[in-house]
Symmetry: C2
Subunit: 374 residues, 2 copies
């Protein structure tokens, strides 16, 4: 059985081998996972290893797809199979902190195939920071050093479990807590969102509307701009590639900017911050404009405006609100159910397309949340 | 009496005329002010008018020195004569908000020559935002649209009244409140100060030392650096013109930077912020590096560090603590009296030298507080 060889860490297994392994995996899951629940035999897992650190835009050759057999689960452990994998801007940055050779980082929604834990049963959906892998054995009691906690996806009323990676997961909570706890918008204020058509930005703008604010978005295509204003209810939106931010803000934020939810950094952010009102608040969620840059780029300084208008700029990681995680998910779910919050997903099919989906997300090809369906 | 002609708004009176007027003024004050207290006759005031907005570094030709006769004071009013005038970086920025033709802005310590107010008596020292003028008539009850409130200099125990413009005035309070309320340093943390040898920065560093922090300063000459470490007790200081901030911080802040009190903005600030620890706080007090620039310069972006380390960057104007003004002055006075807080003044003599003193201060010629003695 060639496929039982330890394939782990092979730099790049031949495609034919991978395909064969995938077919086998599918069969195995039916056999050992869902149906027999804990037969104890290992399953094969495909995972992407970061072969080298990215330089500029990530390339498929920066990754190696490897296949390995997982050991049978032990008492207390759970085996889960990825259904949807998440693509998020932070990945481009965080992975640089780890040496090459490890599994590429990222969250996923997985379905429990086998469980020897009292907390999980077969068929449960789990949200985990398992990395780019099709199958994962985890111990819910172990506090592993992952970016996010592992948790069971709450009942989301029949909606797609993929939302656990988007509006009902990390990006939704990033929008909810970042906007409400860092920007603290007040009814009638003007809120500007950059990366407005992304997984986080599109939710930020809608929550700001729910809170009675005027909302102005910046996005990277005319199509996205149309979606923001015509579908999501943004008061104004602009294509930052074709409109000068200065002109856009004069048009869309005639009373100035009170809150800025920043996903992109760079020159656009300088423009917005330099046009903020006294007492303005900036929530810095990311700076995707710089992620593929070789070194940190330069942008117009913001300090004069920061002093004169006594601005507050605060960076945040959503993990700050780990203890209120459920609150964010349930509030966003309620708004969805009430018809007040819309979401979009850009779904790429096939686990093997993870690298190209990452590149596309970083280029802004996605509208709303970018996920890969295994 | 040629000198009684309305000389107001003359672009540049001949130096001889100015000198003659000054002599006369001196005599008049002795005659109508201090000695006779309220003779009612007007006095002559010299003042600098901003003839045109600065482009780049301010030039003497941007100002006009004019002389005018002040009307006799009315009931409730006070006549005061400037003893010391303040030179502060903010002037370079704030004056741009006003149309040319008005008196150049700035604070001063003046001595009361004549008073028809129950709150002021002859000989009192008043701190006022009167602008660049030798004599001022003001009404303590009127709430004029000045940057700072007018107030009587508290008893500072025989120290020079000029300190009311420095360590015992706006710059001292800027250091005190900005550091303690915005940076909120904790014992054992590392505090970095830019513009460290200036009126504000030199006090910031010493207060941070009083609070048990490691203090690292950046200044613009080897002499200033020596003063900071050998006289003021900074743990380390660097000449930013000859040392790369990156190397300086590696050397002086081996545990990273927790608090940054920023007076300069620009590339130095980007370097410091990009090397801050998780949870770091930045108090943005000014950005003198950009004040003479034509438009806003560019500097390395800070957003990635702001997000990853959840940094807080807050701009502030010291007027935020107007209701605690006396607290700051009295605490700094106590630290001076206890030998814990040292100060330095760079004194330029002669009211007519205000423009050149401003240019020198913006160039960083001063150590500690820059004032002009009339």
């Amino acid at each position: 059985m060639a496929l039982r060889l330890p394939l782990c860490f092979l730099p790049r297994p031949p495609a034919s081998l991978v395909a064969a392994a995938a077919t086998l995996l599918q069969r195995r899951h039916l056999a050992s996972g869902v149906e027999s629940q804990g037969a104890g035999a290992g399953v094969f897992c495909k995972r992407f290893v970061l072969a080298r650190h990215f330089k500029g835009e990530p390339k498929p050759s920066d990754f190696s797809l490897v296949t390995e057999e997982l050991p049978p689960i032990k008492d207390g452990e759970v085996l889960a199979e990825a259904e949807f994998l998440s693509l998020d801007p932070y990945m481009r940055v965080y992975v640089l902190r780890r040496p090459p050779g490890g599994t590429m980082i990222g969250g996923q929604v997985a379905r429990v195939l086998e469980s020897k834990s009292p907390d999980y049963k077969v068929g449960d959906h789990v949200v985990g920071d398992f990395g780019w892998r099709t199958h994962t054995v985890f111990n819910p009691e172990a506090h592993e050093h992952t970016l996010m906690r592992t948790y069971k996806l709450p009942d989301i009323g029949g909606l797609s479990p993929s939302l656990g990676l988007g509006v009902l997961g990390m990006p939704g909570n990033t929008a909810y807590f970042g906007l409400l706890e860092v920007c603290r918008p007040v009814k009638g204020e003007t809120v500007v969102v950059s990366g407005a058509a992304g997984a986080v930005g599109s939710i930020v703008g809608q929550i700001a509307k729910i809170k009675g604010c005027r909302v102005v978005g910046f996005a990277g295509s005319d199509e996205k701009v149309k979606w923001l204003t015509e579908e999501l209810g943004f008061d104004a939106a602009y294509n930052y590639k074709t409109t000068r931010p200065r002109d856009a803000l004069k048009d869309g934020a005639p009373k100035g900017v009170d809150c800025y939810f920043d996903n992109v950094g760079g020159e656009l952010s300088s423009s917005v911050i330099n046009r903020m009102n006294y007492g303005g608040r900036v929530a810095v969620c990311g700076s995707i404009s710089s992620y593929n840059a070789d070194g940190l780029p330069k942008a117009t300084i913001i300090q004069p405006a920061v002093v004169t208008n006594e601005l507050k700029i605060e960076g945040f990681l959503v993990t700050r609100w780990n203890d209120r995680w459920g609150e964010g998910i349930l509030q966003n779910l309620k708004w969805i159910q009430d018809g007040k919050l819309k979401y979009e997903e850009t779904v790429t099919k096939g686990f093997e397309n993870m690298p190209s989906a990452l590149v596309g997300m970083l280029r802004g090809d996605n509208t709303g949340k970018a996920v890969v369906k295994v």
